[in-house]
């Protein structure tokens, strides 16, 4: 075979590989959504899960997933922003900064089950939170914090140095420059990154098995006392998220309609994650255009 033919064959191989990956995603999404479509109706989306009978819904699980996402993001976003600001604006090239980077790398590559066990040991037992949304939110924060720090640092670094110099030249302090110039310029990048991270958190399950727990108490949406055990807003109650529900239904449920509940839950989960992803893309394009247009 001469080199030209070889080159053609290789090119075909690369196209084939790329095509395979696109087909794979289409097949996965198509399979989950088409299979789940028959299971999804209003009663399923809003109903209570059943432990023994057929016909259970996933209402509380959807609520738990979103509420937990909110709780963990409320911790992750400010902490991650501050950490990223330190690395991008203040940190010098020294061994301390190196150690922070090494820690970030380590935290990022930790298996989420290990983070879940750490949560069980520290947040659930040592802090005495028990299986609770608060413990789950803290565990998710441990997973997400390094990503948020890295995202912030990378985004802040894309802001041109001229802007900083102009602001400092006008007599602003460093912190004023960060808050009034650098952060506003980075908002499109930050929002996009945060939403994509939110999609990941929404599907996390391994870290939540032993922190947020695998049960939900009967919720009373009329109960506004947030420390009451049946209040949906109580962060100290256990809460099984949608992703954990999928796992639990498949591994240890006693209900007769496992397939229906799992199909429906997987489809809802995928659609929410897809929704986050598309929202991030749309916002990125829109905000980018607005900033570019002045």
């Amino acid at each position: 075979m001469n080199v030209r033919t070889k080159d053609k064959v290789a090119t075909c191989m690369f196209w084939l590989g790329a095509g395979c990956v696109v087909a794979l995603l289409a097949a996965l999404l198509g399979y989950i959504i088409v299979r789940g479509a028959y299971a999804i109706d209003l009663a399923f989306l809003l109903g209570e899960p059943e432990t023994r009978r057929a016909g259970g819904g996933i209402g509380p699980n959807i609520f738990n997933s979103f509420y937990l996402l909110f709780l963990s993001m409320a911790l992750t976003v400010p902490l991650g922003l501050l950490g990223g600001i330190y690395l991008a604006e203040y940190a010098r090239q020294n061994s301390f900064t190196n150690f922070i980077r090494l820690s970030i790398e380590t935290l990022t590559s930790l298996p989420s089950i290990v983070v879940g066990l750490f949560g069980l040991l520290i947040f659930v037992s040592m802090f005495g939170l028990g299986y609770s949304l608060a413990a789950g939110a803290l565990a998710l924060t441990v997973i997400n914090l390094p990503l948020m720090v890295r995202l912030t640092e990378e985004t802040l670094r894309t802001v041109p140095g001229d802007l900083r110099e102009a602001s400092l030249g006008l007599g602003a302090t460093k912190w004023q420059t960060i808050c009034r110039v650098v952060l506003p310029c980075s908002i499109p990048g930050l929002i996009t990154g945060i939403i994509i991270a939110a999609g990941r958190v929404f599907g996390e399950a391994a870290a939540l098995l032993f922190t947020a727990g695998m049960t939900t108490p009967r919720l009373d949406f009329g109960q506004w006392n947030i420390l009451h055990p049946t209040s949906p807003w109580n962060p100290f109650r256990p809460g099984e998220t949608l992703a954990v529900h999928i796992w639990k239904v498949n591994s240890e449920a006693l209900i007769p309609d496992i397939t229906r509940v799992a199909d429906g839950s997987a489809a809802v989960l995928i659609m929410v994650v897809l929704g986050f992803n598309l929202l991030a893309r749309w916002l990125a394009r829109r905000l980018g255009r607005r900033l570019a247009g002045g």
Binding site: V3, A10, A18, L82, S109, P111, F118, G203, S251
Partner: protein
């Protein structure tokens, strides 16, 4: 007026200090978390030696019978079966996924950057965004029955675990490899073309060797992800505490062992502490991967 200026300056200075301190504390928090995880997990895990006095030979053996009564010789907590299971699934998945991931990366950087940016980039991000329980569920409802009907066995097998993992780590390999290939100076490719190389020759003989440190990093990161994945694997491998003899046999991994038993064993018992020891092994291996990457990248830069 002077008082006003002084007041303003004072407030700005105070804010400056507060801003710096808060961001410094947040950065330190990352270090504290890392150290806390390391210390607490290993402190719990190493209690198999310090509290239960299990010997190294016992813990790294194939014998698993954590509730064997004392009259029969006492409990046996060998975790080697779990460790071998983890290594088998993750290494095979990385071997399967690496060629496809690198192919995609080359496609995105060399063959069609336009389509790469427009189509493959979002596709890979979406693949990375699919939750692991959904991967596990697809494996359980498609792969497992398929293997049972067409290849034999129960379907819960090493093969199912490897396939699920291979898809899950594909985005990691593709993304990191793409970054590695993009970082290469354009002059390399131009020089290869100027010497009369075809595109395939340039890719195979110049670009891939030049990016090898980055490509290896991609594979190691993917391996780390596969090694630590818990639920997707647990759902499809059958969780049988045996070393598999063929790819159609069921097996168990460290992560699935922890997932299965952590909720059903008593805190402080030998069985429970052995699970924490497995978590310590996961932690140690994750450190090993980081170390490998730092060494690989370091060496790649020196050359």
């Amino acid at each position: 007026m002077w008082r006003k200026i002084a007041f303003r300056f004072g407030r700005a200075a105070r804010r400056e200090l507060a801003g710096f301190s808060l961001s410094f504390i947040a950065a330190v928090l990352v270090i504290v978390l890392t150290l806390a995880i390391t210390v607490f997990i290993s402190w719990k895990g190493l209690s198999v030696f310090f509290v239960h006095h299990v010997s190294l030979a016992n813990i790294f053996s194939l014998d698993w019978w954590p509730d064997r009564p004392p009259e029969q010789g006492g409990p046996q907590v060998g975790i080697l079966t779990f460790l071998v299971g983890s290594i088998l699934t993750s290494v095979l998945a990385a071997l399967l996924s690496a060629p496809l991931g690198i192919t995609v990366a080359v496609f995105m950087t060399e063959i069609s950057p336009h389509l790469g940016q427009r189509v493959l980039q979002p596709v890979i991000e979406l693949l990375a965004g699919i939750p692991s329980v959904v991967y596990g569920y697809i494996g359980l409802s498609v792969l497992v029955p398929f293997i049972r009907e067409h290849l034999g066995g129960t379907g819960f097998s090493l093969l199912a675990g490897v396939l699920v993992l291979a898809v899950m780590i594909l985005p990691t390999i593709a993304t990191v490899s793409t970054d590695a290939l993009r970082a290469l100076p354009g002059s390399l490719k131009e020089a290869a073309y100027a010497l009369g190389a075809t595109r395939w020759q340039a890719i195979r003989l110049v670009l891939i060797p030049a990016a090898r440190a980055g490509l290896l990093t991609a594979v190691v990161l993917a391996l780390a992800r596969a090694f630590g994945e818990a639920l997707a694997v647990q759902m499809v491998i059958g969780n049988k505490r045996e070393i598999p003899h063929s790819i159609l046999d069921p097996l168990i991994t460290l992560t699935s062992g922890i997932t299965m038993d952590m909720g059903y064993t008593v805190q402080g018992s030998l069985w429970n502490d052995t699970l924490w020891f497995m978590a310590t092994i996961l932690l140690a291996i994750s450190f090993l991967f980081i170390f490998t990457i730092r060494v690989v990248i370091g060496r790649g830069m020196v050359r």
